[in-house]
Structure formats: C-alpha cells, structure tokens
Amino acid sequence: MTAGSVTFDHVTKAFGATRAVHDVSITFPSHKIIGLIGPNGGGKSTSLKLMAGLMHPSAGSVRVDGLEARRGLCATVAFAPDAGAGYSFFTVAEMIGYYHSVFADFDPKRAEELRSFMDLPAAVRTGALSKGNQARLKIALTLARAAPLILMDEPLSGLDPLVRASIVRGLISFVDLDRQTVVISTHEVGEVEPLLDVVALMDRGRILAMEEVQGIQESGAGGLVGWMRRILVR
C-alpha cells in the first residue's frame, strides 16, 4: 500500500551559483501531517516542487513511495502551489470539472462537499473570487484528490484569520491519514502547530532538524517557535 513517503537522497538543487537545496538526505514518514518550517528563502518551496516532480534535482534523487519524482508523478502527488492554480475564466464548478477530467483520483462528490464546506459559489468565475476564496478553492481542489501525497506550499500565507481557520478545518475534516501523507510548508509556525505530527526545520538549503511535535512539546522548549529559534540561533 503506497502512502506518500518521501525520500531525499543527497539532493541538491542549484539555480546558477545559489543552492536552494544543499545535499539533503532525509526520509519523511508516511501517514503524517508534516510541517516544513523555517525562514523565507530557506528552500522549502523548492523542496516541495522537487517532491511534486515539478523540478529536477541538480544532483541526487527524490523518491515518493520508491518512485523517482518526475512530472508523471502528478498521478500520486496533489500539489497546492503558492501561486494561484488554474484558469481565471473558469467558474468554480468548471474548475472542479476540469480537475475531474485531469486527475484520475479526483472525487467529484468529495469536491462538492468541500465546495460547500468552504462556502464557495459554484457559478462565479475563479478570477472574480476574493483572495481568500481563491485560497479556499485551491485547498478544496487539492483535498478532493485521493492522492497518497498532498503538498501545500504556504497555504495560510497572507490570508485573514477566518480564511486561515477554514483552511485548517478543511484539512482536518477531509484528509485521510490512513491513506495519505501531507507536507505543508509554512512560516506561520504557531498556527499550524496543533495540526502537525512531525516538523522539519529548513534553513539555507539544509534540513537542520526533524522531530515529532509531541516530543518538542514534552521537552519544554516553548513549543515549535521556541524550538525553531533555539536551533536557528545556535
């Protein structure tokens, strides 16, 4: 049974002289919600794109359930990018139909549940949706897929508290951790803390630490924020 476990083996991704990801070797556990946290520009987004098969490593390999991450991997990976997804002239309902036609694992019934859960108007063009509703739609489309690996790049960034709360609730209500693994990149650490099983801290292209959130809370490090600060300043 595939479940979305991701392995980086000596992965480097260079853009010219800059190494966005620098010799990273790590295995992310499956059936968990994993937070990829750290300062902006640390390589989180690039790492997600590598997992999604949307970028290729300059060196090393990225595997999802043992398979090399390539573009064709989009059959097993549901990626919610940081930038907007889809065509602005489609209505919400058309977007759902479009995703249904593209992704074999897309469940239209679930999509409809998510649409109503997120309170999205079916007949409105996606380009005319508010920023918050565009963010909700992106998450709804991603969660309507039964893909083993779900990737969300900064899903809460720049959104108001109500929208952030509905996205968090949507994720909790619809993700199936018996079959799925979720990796969320974020710098809003405090807010996602109750969501995460595992956290990986990334800075300057390297993963500095990966731990169970429960262990961090038990250690009295002052939660994720305290833990992150302690590692980043040493």
């Binding site: 059936h31 968990k32 919600i33 709360a165 968090v168 609730r169 909790i172 209500s173 993700v175 951790l177 803390e193 109750p194 969501l195 995460l196 099983d197 959130v213 429960q214 809370q217 038990e218 009295g220 002052g222 939660g223 994720l224 924020v225 305290g226």
Partner: protein, 122 residues
C-alpha cells in the same frame, strides 16, 4: 475554545479537558464519544492526535472501543475512581506549591479551611 499551552503535548491537554468534562458530568457513563474526525475538527488538531487521546483514555480504562461502533465512556465505577484521582492530583499540586513556599501542614490546612468556610485570615 481555550488555546493550547506550548509546553505540554496537545494530546495530554485534550485528555485532561475530556477527563474534566467526564468528572463534571458533561459526559455520562456509557455515552458514545464523537468520532476521531469530529473530535479533531472540534479541537482544531490533527486526527492522529485524537487517536492518541482515545488510545490513552482506553489504556486508563476511562473509555472502551466497541468494534465498528466507536469509543464509549466506561461505567460509573471507573469514572468515580477518575474523579478521586483528579481530585488527588489537584490537591497534590496545591500542596507541592504551598510546601515550596515553606507553609507547614497545619498552616496549609488552616488556610484551606479558612478559605472555604470563612474565618480569620492567617
């Protein structure tokens, strides 16, 4: 809902809240607890965290899982025991703190009694 503290695992904080609800009588013996998913949405936490909560409550004998039906509170007897345990723990915390400040047992007893039933403050 009250936010979680960052210095204790969330599963334990939820366990404490549920145990308090049981002892207060908000949840009654034999009652079915909400599903893992419902509880996760209610508390705004990862469903794995709630699974852990339910496992721990079962380990403590506070709940029992009936196959295919969900998670139920156990009988009144176990819950009466839980009530005594929680009371004892709360008293332990008070006594530890008072002892750390150098109060004698007699002083603690007198302060508590005065506080509860009025009388001259020490």
């Amino acid at each position: 809902m009250e936010p979680f503290s960052q210095n204790e695992p969330i599963y334990r904080q939820i366990m404490d809240r549920l145990c308090r609800a049981v002892v207060r009588g908000n949840l009654v013996p034999g009652e079915r607890l909400p599903s893992v998913r419902e509880m996760a949405v209610e508390f705004g936490v990862n469903p794995n965290t709630i699974s852990r909560v339910y496992q721990e409550l079962e380990r403590l004998g506070v709940t029992e899982t009936r196959r295919g039906q969900g998670c139920f509170l156990t009988d009144a007897e176990r819950i009466a025991t839980l009530r005594r345990e929680l009371s004892r723990r709360a008293i332990d915390r008070l006594l530890t703190e008072m002892a750390a400040m150098g109060f004698s047992r007699e002083e603690i007893l007198r302060s508590v009694s005065d506080h509860l039933f009025g009388g001259d403050n020490p």
